[in-house]
Symmetry: C2
Subunit: 239 residues, 2 copies
């Protein structure tokens, strides 16, 4: 009998970007015995490698369903990830955590969590898993514990599930206090193949990582500190 | 000089469904001197008359921009407004307010407000106007004052505007304690042409109202109680 069948059969929705954090969070939900429903967004990202990685990860971890919601955020502008601003390169780690970076997408996690909340009600899911991280969070306001707590309070008031059924759809943030190295060690111990994931903000057409954007730097440093060999395919070997 | 130019030039984003409430809220924002940015959603509604009405209203009230965001909520299911469930007809008003109706769309206002919040950050808007109403709210959990307060708390924590600039994007609910009749009287006094609006959940192909769904009944009763002549075009004259 499959291990997951011996544990609970509750549903977890996992917000998946195809990166290290959401992939690890999904592997942890699998380990906890949840049925996995993976959710990604096509919101006008400048490249498609993120969506392809999310699909690979969902298959790899045995998600029952991988849903992509189309969301035309490019029409309301405002970010290096959707507009034609330049992605910052070779920044010091200190710079990444002191300021809110231009790669901040206005209200992004709020939008993603809201749509996940809708799907959770429809599915009768127990939890929404989001791989936010307050350690390496790169200055994003919507990755902090107080933000998540506010969303939980909102979710309980916003839904039929919360108001009529008096059941809380939990916003679960298993990585929130972990370093990138701890995240990678956790996933590696659960058998995650990080070669399937994608983190780079500015990949080549074939999906090779630049090695220099904030996301690449945090990822590379994470593998080094974790003592796990880095399966990332870079455009050139990073110095 | 235009009156609105003599007042403030702050931006208000108005969530517009093309119905009576959001149209009245937009007229009130215009009266308050705001620059109007109208926001509607194409979320797989079963009919398109709502979007057409929102466009007519934006033009009528002189919105600077009317933005439609495409949002594939039909893919995550769950409502009479997007699925092929039957819209309830001829219900008593008591039934409308005691239960959460099947026309409830999971987390809908949360999703709409989240996207409005993103746009508000990009535009530097002062407020988001939503025409929710706790009197005739038909049992929707996400139309209550405590829900709006929770979203405000979230918005202040979620955004660069709130966290870095220490500026609150206000969630403004001018109709929350008004009856439908008061709403209609307010709009009529501001010169709103309600003949441009659409409320029916189950219109004919040409957009004529059924007169029998919850929304039609509340609308019709509102005009009667307001003593304002009802410009709605019904499929047949309601009994």
């Amino acid at each position: 009998m499959n291990t997951s069948e011996t544990l609970n059969k509750a549903i977890a929705i996992i917000l998946s970007s195809g990166g290290i954090d959401s992939t690890t969070a999904m592997a942890m939900a699998k380990q906890d015995g949840y049925r996995l429903f993976s959710l990604s967004f096509d919101y006008g990202q400048r490249h498609r490698h993120e969506l392809a990685a999310a699909q690979r990860v969902a298959t790899h971890l045995g998600a029952e369903r991988h849903q992509i919601v189309n969301l035309d955020l490019a029409g309301i502008g405002g970010s290096a990830l959707t507009d034609n601003l330049e992605v910052p390169k070779d920044r010091e780690l200190r710079q990444m955590t002191e300021e809110i970076p231009i790669t901040y997408v206005p209200a992004r996690n709020t939008i993603f969590l809201s749509i996940a909340l809708a799907w959770a009600e429809v599915l009768g899911a127990d939890r929404i898993v989001i791989g936010v991280n307050a350690v390496d969070y790169s200055g994003y306001p919507d990755c902090r514990p107080e933000y998540i707590a506010a969303f939980q309070a909102l979710a309980d008031l916003a839904t039929k599930t919360g108001v009529q059924d008096r059941r809380s759809i939990r916003i679960h943030t298993p990585l929130i206090h972990m370093t990138k190295a701890q995240i990678i060690q956790t996933g590696a111990a659960l058998g995650v193949d990080y070669g399937l994931t994608h983190s780079c903000y500015d990949p080549s057409e074939e999906g090779l990582a630049c090695g220099r954007c904030d996301s690449c730097q945090l990822r590379r440093k994470g593998f080094e500190e974790a003592g796990v060999s880095d399966p990332t395919r870079y455009r050139r070997v990073p110095s």
